[in-house]
């Protein structure tokens, strides 16, 4: 009984991926824009000199990328490539492969966004729970309104303000970049890690501040309903210590919906946060995706979004499988 449930969930998992892949394939191709012509013009814009044989160059590279073949044929090769995780070359940065672009951007994005999402989730949920908890210290009540305001502000604007005060006026933090220019990327040395953390502090701070409020609010709502439940009164009647009541009973029950949205949020992490990376000049995958979209670089768009789709679908699939562990009431029968 457990197996066919997982099999069914896996079936849906594959279906969602296939559907999303198809949307990603056709969406950019609807517009009349030709990525190779866009590339030529970018070069011309930088150099100022219009290459004489532009039209022939465009035909040459259209055939090289197979863009002159009929759409359905392209779709066929596209699906088989995606199956083998072979994303091919980037058009705008030929002959750079999409895979090497991914490996350059992805670790930065996952590092920053993964970390900030988890921290915001942890701190936000705990704070939200304490806010709804009667016995919690009252001072927290005054902490909530500012957090609420912060979470309403778009985080890239928050970033702008932080840059102005913390990095520009009195330069405690660097203005931009993943790490200070001129240092050799040496992931083993502590000083390099220190440098990276120093650089990613402001972007992380702006995202955490913006994120905490949202997690806190949803958690507070859940805690209020849970506190009204009968099993809480029974637990108190058992004379349990405050901490057991809070963690083992209240938090344990109200964290369930939060975990679902956490999984979704983690899924989007691989897509990078375009605006934060643009404002902070942070070398994540978000800027790569943004430029690929501006330049209609089909293969890079497809590569990155496939990773996003797989991450989210994998996340929801893992959640479906693991959820009964979290909440015994959900059994495998109810697929």
């Amino acid at each position: 009984m457990k197996l066919d449930y997982i099999a069914k969930r896996f079936g849906i998992f594959l279906l969602v991926i296939w559907l999303a892949l198809t949307v990603i394939f056709f969406l950019p191709r609807f517009s009349t824009q030709n990525p190779i012509r866009e590339k030529m013009n970018q070069e011309m814009l930088r150099g100022g000199y219009v290459q004489v044989g532009m039209e022939q160059m465009i035909e040459e590279y259209e055939s090289k990328f197979g863009l002159n073949k009929p759409l359905w044929e392209q779709y066929g090769t596209y699906l088989s490539d995606m199956g083998r995780l072979d994303f091919g070359y980037s058009i705008a940065h030929y002959p750079k492969t999409v895979k090497s672009m991914l490996s350059e951007g992805l670790p930065w994005s996952i590092g920053l966004l993964g970390m900030t999402t988890l921290i915001a989730f942890g701190v936000g949920s705990l704070l939200g729970a304490l806010l709804a908890w009667r016995r919690a210290p009252q001072v927290l009540r005054y902490l909530f309104p500012p957090l609420l305001v912060l979470s309403a502000v778009p985080f890239y604007l928050l970033g702008l303000v932080l840059i102005f005060f913390l990095a520009f006026e009195n330069s405690w933090f660097p203005l931009f970049g993943g790490y200070s220019p001129g240092t050799v990327t040496d992931w083993l040395s502590i000083s390099f890690w220190g440098n990276v953390l120093h650089h990613s502090f402001l972007p992380a701070l702006s995202m955490i501040l913006a994120g905490i409020g949202l997690w806190a609010l949803t958690m507070r709502g859940m805690m209020v309903t849970v506190q009204g439940e009968d099993y809480m009164t029974m637990a108190e009647a058992k004379g349990l210590k405050g901490s057991t009541l809070f963690f083992r009973y209240a938090l344990r029950n109200s964290i369930l919906p939060q975990v679902t949205s956490l999984v979704l949020a983690l899924g989007h992490v691989v897509g990078g946060a375009v605006l934060v990376e643009v404002v902070f000049g942070y070398p994540g995958i978000g800027t790569t995706l943004y430029h690929a979209i501006r330049e209609f670089d089909y293969f890079v768009i497809q590569g990155i979004i496939l990773i996003v789709i797989v991450a989210i679908a994998l996340g929801t699939f893992l959640l479906d499988v693991a959820y009964p562990l979290l909440d015994p009431r959900i059994t495998y029968r109810r697929a």
Binding site: Y231, T233, A237, G239
Partner: protein
Amino acid sequence: MNTQLLKLQELQVFYHTDEGAVKAVDGVTLSLAKGERLGLVGESGCGKSTIAMTIMGLIKSPGRIEGGKILLGEVDLTKLSEGEMRRLRLNQVGLIPQGAMNSLNPVSRVKDQIIDGMRAHNQQISKRELRSRVYEVLESVGLRRGVARMYAHELSGGMKQRVCVAIAISLHPQVVIADEPTSALDVVVQREVMETIGQLQQQLGASVILAGHDMGLMAQFVDRLAVMYAGKLVEIGPVKELFAKPLHPYTQLLLASLPGLAQRGVFRGIPGLTPSLVHVPPGCLFYPRCPQAMEICSQEVPALREGDGRQVACHLYDSEVMI
């Protein structure tokens, strides 16, 4: 008089809402002897659940104990700090909750919910001993050992209530408070659960306060019965004498509304509504609905008269000496 285990003196508990202070319990005095079973009856909203919760120290804002004492032996529970009160719960005073349907933590197993109660009061118990205590307690409420590994949603209504009883008596408390334990159960299961509570009470020699509104159930289970109306105690007495000769008009109407097998046709209820507990009118609160209401009833609050084991608060008995 044998030693009174639990005494309530002029207990007052008000809920401070926007419209004003709701006087849920307004000067209740009663006592509970060791091993005695005291019934607490009255229409819903008369304050019996509030009393049960106040004894357990579980009154949440906007509710607050305004005055009076709750003496457990010499200790006044109303003066205890949260920490002291916590140590008493389950150890000295056990609660069997009303809504059995979801009084158990849905996400943890039955044995864990019993263990954490025990561990909260005694850290040194070894794992092996805890496990045997769990089986012992479950068997004492008539549940097989297998129930320990199950979750709340895998148990029937009756089994859930038995688990709650098991938890309540797991540390052999002196007082067990049952707040309408079986109202959500069908009659057959109700009787089984009450029998279980009765046997355990005898074994442990604990005294029980059974709050409820089912007069039939009270007749079979309790020794003494206290009748409450609108936050005040109107009559207390041994259950047999009270059933035989109810003194207070409200008790008389309550007993009269019991559907006997013999009479057919229309049920006789009590006309009128319970009074607002915010703007408390002068005099006896039952005045508007009391068939034997007198002039004085609307001016003065009747005091509680004492007489050979019976107490009643009604102006009818102002002059005569209690028979």
